[in-house]
Subunit: 208 residues, 2 copies
DNA sequence: CCGGAAATGTTATTATTTTCACAGGGGGGT
DNA sequence: ACCCCCCTGTGAAAATAATAACATTTCCGG
């Protein structure tokens, strides 16, 4: 039980997507060098990343595409389905609700919550929009593990606090702000501005 | 001219946002410990990150809020405005177009492109939607430096190739796939599924 | 059945990033 | 003017991560 770099986990997710695409093409075997090429990585890193979790390949041969993908999916915790709610039915919340990629990877979006009474009662790709007051009740009753926060930053901490109180296990936050959660709750931030600003820094970064 | 960790740049962006909020509150001085608290970081790291670029503080006192923020903004390359196009006028593209945070940080979204003739001619928060055929022409003529790609993954590489040919400097890609660009073009991927899967890994990760 | 090519798993090395500790400069009170 | 507290900047140490190198295993052809 050693510590695994978070970057490794991110890469495993990418490997899984790539290996999945090979599986669909009917390819049976793949080498670390081929995976590396498919994901813009290095063969050594692919092998190292996988080696944290066991021996999945055959020396001299490579990896069985199907079983490798199953193993990675298991490692990532995707062999069970996860119940998700999205808070915020604006454009971003709607985009996330409609996004097929989540379904495919085992995430069930069961509801969207919003404080706009005009939106309540509508559906987004079949997912109902509920009033924000019902958030805690729903999270508890439906055993929701993951909350995706797509509200304006002013409301984000409050929404997260309510999710935490209702027993959420993990939060994916899109609001551009720092959120505090107790240590047993997992949180990740997807910060659009930060990403853009890393780009602008790199574009100008010959001076340093 | 030493190498600066990318994580440092990401944190500078967050510092800037935090320090900007202090500025709005009329706070004049801030210490590294206070910044650290505001962004869930450590004081030493705040100081180290800033020290890559110079000495911005006063020993025994702290940092002047206003000038610190100006310095960070300059470091991040945000003292000039950047011209941006968004490709894809779906929910995600619309959300990005409407997002105020970009404007505030110096990003001008000049156009959205889509291949849906029903959307062409409409506007999103005042930003016009143009047909995708006009992409290259527009990028060249309007001197667009940054392209934000919010199209289905099947089209992403093609769109990026076209942006690159038209002379784009940087790409922010939201499509869940690996994109190849020549080395002089900056690219960053915002991969929603990867972020969710890091969460699920962490939720189950007592076994490793 | 043997030898060579191929590709993994693993150890060692190198590079990078974070954390720690403290010297140095600055301001305010007495 | 001096002392003491405060907080930065920085060099050294520790921790973490990436890369390289290689020993080992497998397959295949002759």
């Amino acid at each position: 039980m050693q510590k695994i770099p978070e970057a490794t986990i991110g890469r495993l997710s990418v490997y899984s997507r790539y290996v999945g695409s090979l599986e669909k093409k009917g390819i049976l075997t793949v080498s670390s060098a081929e995976i590396a090429e498919g994901v813009n990585g290095s063969p050594a890193q692919v092998r190292k990343d996988l080696a944290y979790f066991g021996e999945f390949g055959t020396r001299g041969v490579g990896y069985n595409v199907e079983s490798l993908n199953q193993q990675i999916i298991k490692i990532l915790g995707l062999s069970i389905r996860w119940n998700v709610v999205i808070i915020g039915a604006g454009n971003l919340g709607s985009a996330l609700t409609q996004y097929k990629g989540f379904q495919n990877r085992g995430f069930n979006t069961l509801a969207v919550f919003d404080n706009d009474v005009n939106k309540v009662g509508l559906k987004i790709s079949g997912v109902p929009i509920y009033p924000i007051d019902r958030l805690e009740e729903f999270v508890k009753k439906e055993n929701i593990q993951i909350g995706i926060v797509a509200v304006p930053f002013q409301y984000a901490q409050e929404v997260v606090d309510r999710l935490v109180k209702a027993g959420i296990k993990a939060v994916l936050n899109f609001a551009p702000c720092v959120i505090s959660v107790p240590s047993q709750v997992e949180i990740r931030n997807v910060d659009l501005t930060v990403n853009l600003e890393i780009l602008t820094f790199n574009m100008g970064a010959n001076k340093f």
